[in-house]
Every structure is written in structure tokens, then in C-alpha cells.
């Protein structure tokens, strides 16, 4: 009988215990795979998340918060800057293009953003839009994910709500969907877009004030005319009270550094878990080995070599971890597939659940190595079994 067949039969005989040990490996592996997928996507997202807008200007405060709500549409802006800040930027020689943005309302949890319609052309090139772009106040163009999630189509009307998704609706101002944007693969898919002045219009209607043509601006995104000019503008803006100018790239890098640290932490936890899983396998093999002492003695009596016996045990260890890690890898992807729509909805991060990374094969190999290592102790025990113990009376 071959080594493989005997090992497999032995494993099958003790399958409950070994399945338990295998599942610890699977869980740890799945966690690792999932974290890797998520952080890869966050990194990709962060990198392409701001297009050519190297500088973003807004109300003073946390740079990270400004970048997050401007480009990733996550979190709420904490303030606005006066319209003349935008005028200054628009007049300056340091900008190539600059767009003002207003933000405050949302629909069904998705933010409503007012900006110049050329924002899209600058960032994504020519648009293949379904329907038409917005022209007058009240026209809205929606991102592809918003269309999918809410079921809105061209021609529908809705009322926005101020602040959070379940805030009160403005009865006075209906919005009409004039177009649906193509998918960009960025957070912009998760937003609704309209004219710059909608927020001022709504505010004027609500409080019966005079309508503004130049109201407060939430963010200004800038494509600089050169690298020196970029730095010049940043310096000038930061000197103003109540205003901050932030390098999008650097802030994204800082965001990623935080993600890196989070990921490093998870890796440490995973390594510890792997050690624990390895120990649990060693325990399982030892327990199984104890009940198999007589079987081992018999095999030795028949003439099977010590190396045959120990190879069988090491193979068992390798199979438990190898199969466990394979199951874990598939499991990690499956979890990602289930969880990714939820995550995308809330954070705009689209995890691609079915990319297989090269590190995964290393993970399997490493697990097998761990399995072989922990079977060392039970194998040594088996090595020492004296066949005579079986026949001495």
C-alpha cells in the first residue's frame, strides 16, 4: 500500500479532529486574503482617486477630511470658503483649470454635488453620457452606481434631503434626472451632480432670503499650470485665514500610510494566529498519534521502515495545512465577493473579489512548511515506537 493511500485512510479515520485543525488554518488564511484584497483596492482607489487635481482648497481643518469628502465623497465637509477665494484662484496665473464645488445635500445616502460640468471632461475626457448633462438649476446627472442602487432613470424627479440620508426633505425644490454618467471606476460613480448654485438656491428658498449668484464654496479643485505654480498657490492659499490648501497626492499617501499600518497590524495578528493554528495541528497530530501507537508498531513489525512512518505523519501535517490554506484562500475570496457590494455602497471601495494574487501560492507553500514543521514532534514520537512493545507479554 502506498504512502499516500495509507496517509489518506488514516486521515479519513480521524476526520473530525483533523477537520477542526484544518479549519483554524482556513480561517486565518481567509482573513489574510480578505485584508489583502481590501487594502489593495484601497490603494488603487487612493491612487486614481483625484485625477489631475493636484491641489484642493477648502475650509481650514483636517487635510485628510478635505481630500476624503472632496474626492472620495466620504464624510461631511465642516465648512465653506467665501466665493471670492474661488475668484482669486480663477484669476491667478498659477492654475490651468480650477472648479468650485458645493456640497451639502444627499439622496438615499449618496451625496449631491454642485460643480462646473467641465469637471468630468478634465478628469475623464470625453463623456459618453446617457441623456444630457445638467444645464439649469434643478437638473441632475447621476453616477452609474447611484443609478443601479436607486433605480433612478432619465426623467425621474426627486427631492433631496439636507445632511444625512434620513434628514428632512426640501419640499420646495425638486430635482430632475437629465442624464446618467458612464462608470468611471472611481468614487464619482456614487454621487449625484448638478449646477454649482443648487445649495444657494435651496437655502434662499428655505429662509426667504435673496437668492445668491455667488455663494459659499465647499471645495476648489485645481489643475496647476506647473509644479512651481502648484507650490506657489498652495503657499498663498494657506496664508489666508480660514482656508487650507492641500496636496492631494501627499494626503492620499498619508491615508495609505495609515492603511499600511492597519495592514501591518493585521499581519502581526495573522502570524500569531498562524502559530496558534500550527500548535493546534501539532496537538491534533499528537492526539491522533497516541491512539495510533499500536498501528505504528504493527507496521514496523510487518517491515515498514521508520522513515515510512514518519513520512506519513509529516505528509498528514502538510495535507492538513495545505488543504486548510487552499480552502481559506477560496473562502477569503468568497467573503470578499459577499461583502464588497456593502463596502462599496458605504465607502466607495470596490473590492475585486476574484483577482488571485501571486502571494497566495506563497501562502499555501508557507502553510505546508508550517504543517511539516509542527508534525516534527509527533513524527519523532512515532519514530521511537518499538515494535516489540506489541508482542511482549
Amino acid at each position: 500500500m502506498s504512502l499516500w493511500r495509507l496517509t489518506w485512510k488514516n486521515m479519513w479515520h480521524e476526520r473530525s479532529l483533523l477537520l477542526l485543525a484544518m479549519s483554524t488554518v482556513a480561517l486565518v488564511t481567509a482573513l489574510l486574503v480578505f485584508v489583502q484584497l481590501a487594502s489593495d483596492e484601497i490603494e488603487e482607489s487612493a491612487k486614481r482617486g483625484y485625477g489631475p487635481y493636484e491641489l484642493v482648497i477648502g475650509h481650514e481643518g483636517s487635510p485628510l477630511s478635505l481630500v476624503l469628502h472632496t474626492f472620495y465623497h466620504v464624510g461631511e465637509p465642516l465648512g465653506n470658503v467665501p466665493y471670492e477665494v474661488y475668484e482669486y484662484v480663477a484669476r491667478s496665473p498659477w492654475k490651468d483649470v480650477a472648479y468650485p464645488m458645493t456640497r451639502g445635500d444627499s439622496y438615499d445616502g449618496f451625496p449631491l454635488i454642485g460643480t462646473d460640468v467641465n469637471y468630468f471632461k478634465t478628469r475623464y475626457g470625453a463623456l459618453a453620457i446617457e441623456g444630457a448633462t445638467y444645464e439649469q438649476t434643478g437638473d441632475v446627472v447621476i453616477g452609474s452606481h447611484v443609478a443601479r442602487a436607486t433605480g433612478l432613470t432619465v426623467g425621474d424627479t426627486f427631492y433631496a434631503s439636507h445632511g444625512a440620508a434620513d434628514g428632512h426633505a426640501h419640499d420646495e425644490m425638486p430635482f430632475t434626472v437629465t442624464g446618467i454618467l458612464p462608470p468611471f471606476g472611481t468614487a464619482d460613480d456614487r454621487a449625484l451632480w448638478t449646477t454649482l448654485d443648487y445649495a444657494w438656491h435651496v437655502h434662499a428658498e428655505e429662509s426667504d432670503e435673496e437668492e445668491l449668484t455667488e455663494g459659499p464654496i465647499t471645495s476648489i479643485v485645481v489643475v496647476p499650470s506647473g509644479l512651481m505654480e502648484l507650490q506657489q498657490l498652495e503657499q498663498m492659499m494657506n496664508e489666508r485665514d480660514g482656508v487650507q490648501a492641500v496636496y492631494s497626492g501627499k494626503t492620499a499617501s498619508e491615508l495609505l500610510s495609515v492603511v499600511d499600518q492597519g495592514r501591518a497590524f493585521v499581519y502581526v495578528v495573522t502570524v500569531v494566529s498562524f502559530v496558534i493554528a500550527g500548535l493546534s495541528i501539532m496537538l491534533a497530530l499528537l492526539a491522533v498519534g497516541a491512539s495510533r501507537a499500536k498501528d505504528i508498531a504493527l507496521l514496523r513489525l510487518l517491515g515498514r521502515s521508520r522513515s515510512f512512518i514518519t513520512r506519513s505523519i509529516v505528509l498528514e501535517g502538510a495535507l492538513v495545512t495545505g488543504i486548510g490554506s487552499l480552502v481559506g484562500i477560496v473562502g477569503g475570496h468568497v467573503i470578499a465577493a459577499f461583502v464588497s457590494p456593502v463596502i462599496y455602497d458605504r465607502f466607495g471601495i470596490a473590492i475585486d473579489a476574484w483577482t488571485f494574487q501571486p502571494m497566495e501560492s506563497l501562502l499555501v507553500i508557507g502553510s505546508i512548511g508550517v504543517g511539516m514543521l509542527v508534525s516534527f514532534v509527533p513524527a519523532r514520537r512515532a519514530y521511537r515506537v518499538d515494535p516489540l512493545t506489541l508482542i511482549e507479554r
Partner: protein, 221 residues
């Protein structure tokens, strides 16, 4: 097939030595069927296990099928045993996780038996329909017959049996011993069988008594 010369086995414990076996000379020819009898403690199992190479003698030589066992390293002795000797034990020792057929195949490291050959083997012990049963599903007698197959089914020319019917009732024991001798005779194997049952030993063509063989027992021990 087997030649034993000046074989001695001494057990040491706590500074005291105990000579349990001393056989001046013994020769067993190929194809012989020999029963070895003696009371317990007479050293008959010890002799058997030294013939298989599982136990090392303190002194002397054991030549089996032309090979001097004491000159082999332990791993080589294991390999030799697997290829040359079929072992049968009192307590059968079938692996509970394997079927009858798989237990038989345990003794076949590299040889492959065809389905036809397996069938015939099981037929020869009357267990053709129980090939795929697990040991706990078989009676004691059936288990012992599976153990026979395990010992017999390979090319190994020498069969060593240590009290093969020891845990069976008298009637089954007799039938089983007959079966064993038949199987060995048909396949031309040499059979050395240790038993305490004189009546069963009498059915063998040649009988050896440990009291005669073992010099260590003489001289008032």
C-alpha cells in the same frame, strides 16, 4: 531457509543478567512446516522474533534465505522483513481504519495485485464476499484469516506465526491451523509456527520442543 548458530539472548535489568535463550544450532529447510512448542517463558517467541530480525540477539548468527540478519543495519532488516517474511500474530492486529482488502495490501509495498488476484486470495480463505468489510464487522475467525492473507499474499517465502490460534476457540483453532498449513503448502512457503497447544502442534510434519532446543533452560533454571 533458516540456519541458527550459537544464538543467545540475555536480558539485562538492574545490574542482573538473565539468559533466556541459548540455541546451539537449528536448521529449517525450504518448504518445511515446523511447529515450535514449549511452556510460556521457554523462549519460543523470542526465538521466532530473532528469526524475523525484529529482535536482535546478544550473540550468535541467524541466516534467513541466505542473508545474515545480524550483519544488516536496522533499516535494512526492516526492508528485508517486508520482502521476505510474512508475520502472523496472536492478536491479528488489523488496522481498524482500513478494510480487509486494504489491510492485506499493507504488506505489499510495491507489488500490485490485480482485482482478479485479490478475489482469488479472498476466495481461498472463504471471504470473497467480505473484501470490503472493516475489521470490526468481522468475526475473530474471519479477522485471523484476513491476517493470514496479509502474510501470504506477497512473494515472501517465509511465514512466521506466533500463536496464530491463541485467541480462538478450540474448534475454530483446529480448522484455522489446517487452513494455514494448506495455504502454505499450496504456495510452497516455509512455515514456522509457535504454539503452546500440543495437539495442534502434532498436526505439523515437524515439531520442535523449546525444552530440547534451549540450552539455557537446562541445568536447573
Amino acid at each position: 531457509m533458516i540456519t541458527v548458530q550459537q544464538l543467545k539472548k540475555v536480558y539485562e535489568s538492574g545490574g542482573e543478567s538473565d539468559l533466556v535463550l541459548s540455541v546451539a544450532s537449528l536448521h529449517i529447510k525450504e518448504g518445511e512446516r515446523v511447529a515450535i512448542t514449549g511452556t510460556s517463558g521457554s523462549g519460543k517467541s523470542t526465538l521466532l522474533h530473532m528469526m524475523s530480525g525484529v529482535m536482535e540477539p546478544t550473540e550468535g548468527s541467524v541466516v534467513v534465505a541466505g542473508t545474515e540478519l545480524t550483519s544488516l543495519r536496522p533499516a535494512a532488516r526492516d526492508a528485508f522483513r517486508l520482502a521476505t517474511i510474512g508475520y502472523i500474530f496472536q492478536d491479528f492486529h488489523l488496522l481498524p481504519s482500513l478494510t480487509a482488502e486494504e489491510n492485506v495490501r499493507l504488506a505489499l509495498p510495491t507489488e500490485h495485485l490485480s482485482d482478479e488476484q485479490v478475489n482469488r486470495a479472498f476466495q481461498s480463505v472463504g471471504l470473497a464476499h467480505r473484501r470490503h468489510a472493516k475489521p470490526h464487522e468481522l468475526s475473530r475467525g474471519q479477522q485471523q484469516r484476513v491476517a493470514f492473507l496479509r502474510a501470504l499474499v506477497s512473494e515472501a517465502p517465509l511465514i512466521l506465526a506466533d500463536e496464530p490460534t491463541g485467541s480462538l476457540d478450540a474448534k475454530t483453532a483446529r480448522a484455522t491451523m489446517e487452513l494455514l498449513q494448506d495455504l502454505c503448502r499450496v504456495r510452497g512457503k516455509t512455515l514456522v509456527c509457535v504454539t503452546h497447544d500440543e495437539a495442534l502442534a502434532a498436526t505439523f510434519p515437524r515439531q520442535l520442543r523449546m525444552e530440547t532446543l534451549n540450552d539455557a533452560l537446562k541445568g536447573g533454571a
